[in-house]
Assembly symmetry: C2
Homo-oligomer: 463 residues x 2
């Protein structure tokens, strides 16, 4: 049977199965839901068993991960699809129109905790696999599914699993569907993420806080010094002044500028969301360039001196500030952290500086004009055919640690193909998943697997 016919007949059943899955309250943060985590895990293995697929449950110190694979296909790429079966808590029950774990369909949306993040998005790939298997033909490629249970708690045990099972997880590409489209209804591929370097600076200028009357005007003030440090980090063009900070930053080439020009961007809407009177940033760049193509450095928190209500008239001896730098290809975590450390430690005029590294993650790029561009091309075609719309091919300003880990621990690049909608209210009450995106997602997945299995290699062009 033609896969499209099969899908037309079975997509109601795929939705019923998703409703089953969303009704399991697999909240990873809450120890009270340990049994539900197990149920969600077994729900997937029963599905795999039913199709005769090999599955394994990989225990961790926290919640287990699931591994499912189809048989090898000679001379074809191997695709590793990542997702997670755990969901955010659903605390504010009174704010939910429906109960979060009694999923309901309304107005072609499925409401329920985890419907979009990530059960709907991982299940649609399972539905695509089932569809292809039902067609009676051999699968076009080998697919491996890695579905973890700790994404919502920061995937603390995933790096260890990746290392332990490196061979089993061997693949040519990772596919992650755990993001939203850049614009509602417009299919989107993200091909780059910013990296991150997080650190704190603790400053001490004196042995003790002293009385601002008796000593004020003669004793160094740690807050004044920290304010100087923070205010000197950027020059008048809002460029970071730290030596070497921009080392390795790739220029924005004309082809990427063209991609950028296709992204609908409404500065008033954007500014309105933030609620600021003006947008800021590095001189010479547009807003989207600033957040996707340029590294940035933000102070995320500051403190020092008296923190209570009212007043305490001291000249403070200590102050601290927390920072995060956002990195772009080809900056490295080590170099940026080292530059920041050296800059701060060189400001000896300020006092005793204690630079404390937190964690970091590298930037990520699947060059849309590089050797792996063919994967983006096939993904883009699958999206276009399934959505009837040209997909956006854009960078993303944030970091997705798992994507970095696939790169650094497994040496694998990732295509980010998100079927969420920006208004899905993930992590919020009344989370929903657009069923149009669910139906198109299954079709996109089928087409992408088929395309990866086809020998033909077409020139990539998007739009």
């Amino acid at each position: 049977m033609n896969w499209e016919t099969y899908l037309d007949q079975h997509e109601g059943r795929f939705l019923s199965r998703l409703i089953e899955l969303v009704s399991i309250p697999s909240v990873s943060t809450d120890p009270g839901h340990k049994a539900d985590m197990q149920r969600a895990c077994e729900w997937f293995t029963r599905w795999a068993d039913g199709l005769g697929l090999h599955s394994e449950i990989w225990p961790t110190e926290g919640h287990p991960s699931l591994f499912i694979e189809t048989p090898p296909v000679a001379d074809k790429p191997v695709l590793l699809i990542y997702g997670h079966y755990d969901v955010q808590p659903a605390e504010d029950r009174e704010l939910w129109t429906h109960q979060p774990f009694e999923p309901q369909v309304s107005d072609d949306k499925l409401y329920g905790r985890g419907a979009s993040d990530n059960k709907g998005q991982i299940w649609l790939h399972c539905a695509a696999l089932e569809t292809l298997l039902a067609s009676g033909k051999p699968l076009p490629i080998q697919v491996k599914l890695l579905i973890e249970g700790e994404e919502e708690v920061g995937s603390p045990n995933l790096p260890k699993l990746l290392t332990q099972h490196k061979e089993q997880l061997g693949a040519d590409l990772v596919l992650v569907s755990d993001t939203s489209t850049a614009v509602k209804g417009v299919p989107t591929l993200h091909y780059s993420l910013r990296g991150i370097v997080i650190f704190e600076v603790h400053l001490q200028v004196a042995g003790r806080d002293v009385h601002s009357g008796v000593f004020g005007g003669t004793s160094p003030n740690a807050i004044h010094r920290m304010a100087q440090l923070v205010s000197r980090l950027h020059d008048e063009n809002q460029r970071v002044v730290i030596d070497g900070f921009y080392d390795g930053v790739l220029p924005i080439d004309d082809r990427e500028k063209e991609l950028l020009a296709r992204v609908p961007f409404d500065p008033e809407f954007y500014q309105g969301f933030i609620g600021c009177s003006e947008l800021v940033g590095e001189v010479g760049f547009t807003t989207n360039e600033r957040r996707w193509f340029r590294p940035t450095l933000d102070c995320n928190g500051i403190g020092g001196g008296f923190q209570g209500d009212g007043s305490k008239t001291i000249v403070p001896a200590r102050a601290w500030a927390k920072f995060s730098a956002r990195l772009v290809p080809d900056q490295t975590v080590e170099h940026v952290e080292d530059c920041c450390r050296r800059w701060f430690e060189a400001q000896t005029w300020a006092g005793k500086i204690d630079f404390r590294s937190d964690h970091g993650g590298p930037p990520y790029l699947l060059d849309p004009y590089g050797p792996l561009a063919t994967y983006l091309e096939k993904a883009g075609q699958a999206l276009r055919e399934s959505f009837g719309q040209t997909p956006l091919l854009v960078r993303h300003g944030g970091a997705i640690p798992i994507v970095s880990q696939f790169q650094t621990l497994l040496g694998l690049s990732t295509v980010l193909m998100g079927f969420g909608s920006p208004d899905d209210a993930i992590h919020s009450p009344n989370e929903k998943f657009e069923l149009a995106n669910f139906r198109r997602g299954i079709r996109t997945s089928v087409r992408f697997l088929n395309a990866l299995g086809s020998a033909a290699h077409q020139h990539f062009s998007i739009g």
Copy 2:
């Protein structure tokens, strides 16, 4: 009997009385000591009754104040002596060598809570009065004693009492012995205090904190802006840049420079106490000029963004900072506050500024070359004769609210004649009072009262 002979014979008894007084745990912060507060109060009234002096207990919403007065003396000045019978708590009992309320004499020091602050210092004036009364001669001047019970909790009810009893408190001068000598063993008169203006600045640059990955580099950062504000407050010469901030600041005249030159000052000791690697301040002034003669502006506390452990990668929408300005004669609280408010509110580039006034107090000056200099002169002579040393005549960088209140509510100037020693450990475990200062203090007080009563008016010269 000559007063000196009387004192030689009776100073042992005066010490015994002080030990009695210090043994009363009149802790004003602790409701459990309410009865002890009453006992301390009555201890003074019984003493006054025994000498046939008029006394009154003035109830307040908190602890009562005591008022004692000697009969009027025609054509002589009236002296109002202020002190307090309440003491700080003595919590860390294990750190006390002796029990705080079982006062003991050791090595010519009296150990006990309140021995120096303020029971020893107020009682020595009582002992001086008793000595003069015992001499059989009429008192040289009329003396009024105001002894309050809430100094250690900020004298919340004193302003109301001063207003209610303005006529009864009428005097020519206030004498306060509630400070320490500037240098251990060297008698000191303080003739000026800095005032204070306290305010907070709250800054908002956006409607919400946003994700530093998705929005970083495009959204204004409240901490960066606040850091700019704080760092712009002082110019490269460490002068406050706020328009009008220095209005009314009196120049340091040559005669006060001479007084200043006599103050022993050890910059290494001073710096070592603070524990800083260098002293700072307004270019063109010495350290003591900076803290006694120049207004200053210090940030006392700052906060914004994420305050917890670890990291939260936000671009913060809000930040706040607390400030205290120290004022010198003839700056006014209203003008300085107004200048600060106008400066901050003009920094519209920074975002939405919310300037919040806290409280303020005016600077205080008893001009050592002005019309009241004769009081300082007589006080200086009394100290010199009693200590056998030239007293220091210095300004003080802090604020003493009661001195401002005597000035603003009663129109009275104050001579600050402290008999404490810098190492008395007031507010700390093992508080003590130097008995040498106690004995010299009684003699100084007798001599000062006699001098105020003498018609002779001598040219003031100190040193």
